[in-house]
């Protein structure tokens, strides 16, 4: 998950993919490379079966840690800090898919495209393709905003792969961090009062995970 833009939705994507792939039966390793430790906090409230989390992964060890965690039937998810740092370029060099989450705003598009530019330069430097895609986040469930339509058209024109569906703005996605675990557990727990439609969030997250799976299989 790479975007130097803070709050774009990297950690949310990471949790949704980790829990989604774990439900599909994969062994998932999540590398929390963000000193703010969003993922480690989430995990501390209950880590679903099939997921291992490595906290505090440093730039110098990243390549080795990814190689050790990778394998057939395994998914390695790297959550990065929302900042332009060298660990981002290293993570990109190892990725089978770089996901750049972007809110449909001009600022997110501009700062997020820094990550896309970096991917393209690394492709040139290494002489290999590094698959990458944008996912729009916090989109409106009701209507597609003008900015979102324009951004989609812009990305399309630039030949950037756009993951469909986008991740809709849903309270359940934000609440995941407070409760730990996954959306299904959240829905099943009668003690969790959520302000949002968890069922719709689950469908959205599943379709998103499927779309990512199609790109890495």
């Amino acid at each position: 998950m790479a975007s130097p833009k803070g709050g774009a939705g990297k950690s949310t994507c990471a949790v949704l993919l980790a829990t989604g792939f774990a439900r599909m039966g994969a062994s998932v390793t999540v590398l929390d490379c963000d000193p703010n430790k969003s993922l480690t906090r989430w995990a501390s409230r209950g880590l679903p079966e099939g997921i291992a989390l490595l906290s505090d992964v440093q730039r110098s060890e990243l390549v080795t840690v990814i190689r050790e965690a990778d394998g057939d039937g395994r998914i390695v998810i790297v959550d990065l800090e929302g900042i332009a740092s060298q660990i981002v370029s290293r993570a990109i060099s190892q990725a089978d898919l770089v996901i750049v989450p972007m809110q449909p705003t001009a600022l997110d598009a501009e700062v997020g495209s820094e990550a896309l530019g970096l991917v393209q330069e690394e492709e040139e430097a290494l002489g290999k393709e590094i698959p990458h895609a944008v996912v729009l986040t916090k989109t409106s469930a009701a209507v597609k905003s003008r900015v979102q339509r324009e951004l989609e058209a812009q990305l399309m024109a630039a030949g950037i792969d756009l993951i469909e569906p986008s991740l809709v703005l849903r309270a359940a996605f934000a609440e995941l961090f407070a409760h730990g675990g996954d959306l299904e557990a959240m829905m099943d727990d009668p003690n969790i009062a959520t302000g949002g439609r968890v069922d719709r969030a689950i469908v959205n997250a599943r379709e998103f995970t499927e779309a990512v799976y199609e790109r890495i299989r």
Partner: protein, 95 residues
């Protein structure tokens, strides 16, 4: 869940080999775009002792505080007070 587990059999690890030279290239490309090394630098100097939570002297905190208070009362530095204490300990007299 088993059926979906079978689905994931298409999930094959791709080789991940990167030479030192290539990694250097990656770093350089990133650096040029402002993706620089932001690893926090360790602070120089001696590490705080976990026992006393202070650099010096390595004594338990209440002892350290008592020494500090006494030194202040006498108008001495803690080091001067400790030198006196050493005298007493070693020779039985404060010189």
């Amino acid at each position: 869940m088993n059926a979906s587990g079978d689905r994931l059999r298409g999930l094959k690890a791709r080789p991940k080999n990167i030479s030192t030279e290539e990694l250097r290239k990656v770093d350089r490309v990133g650096e040029d775009r402002g993706f620089s090394d932001r690893t926090p630098r360790r602070k120089p100097g001696r590490k705080v002792s976990p026992r006393t939570y202070q650099l010096h002297p390595k004594v338990l905190p209440d002892t350290g505080e008592a020494i500090a208070a006494e030194a202040e009362r006498l108008g001495l530095t803690q080091g001067q007070l400790i030198e006196r204490m050493w005298q007493t300990y070693r020779y039985g007299t404060a010189s």
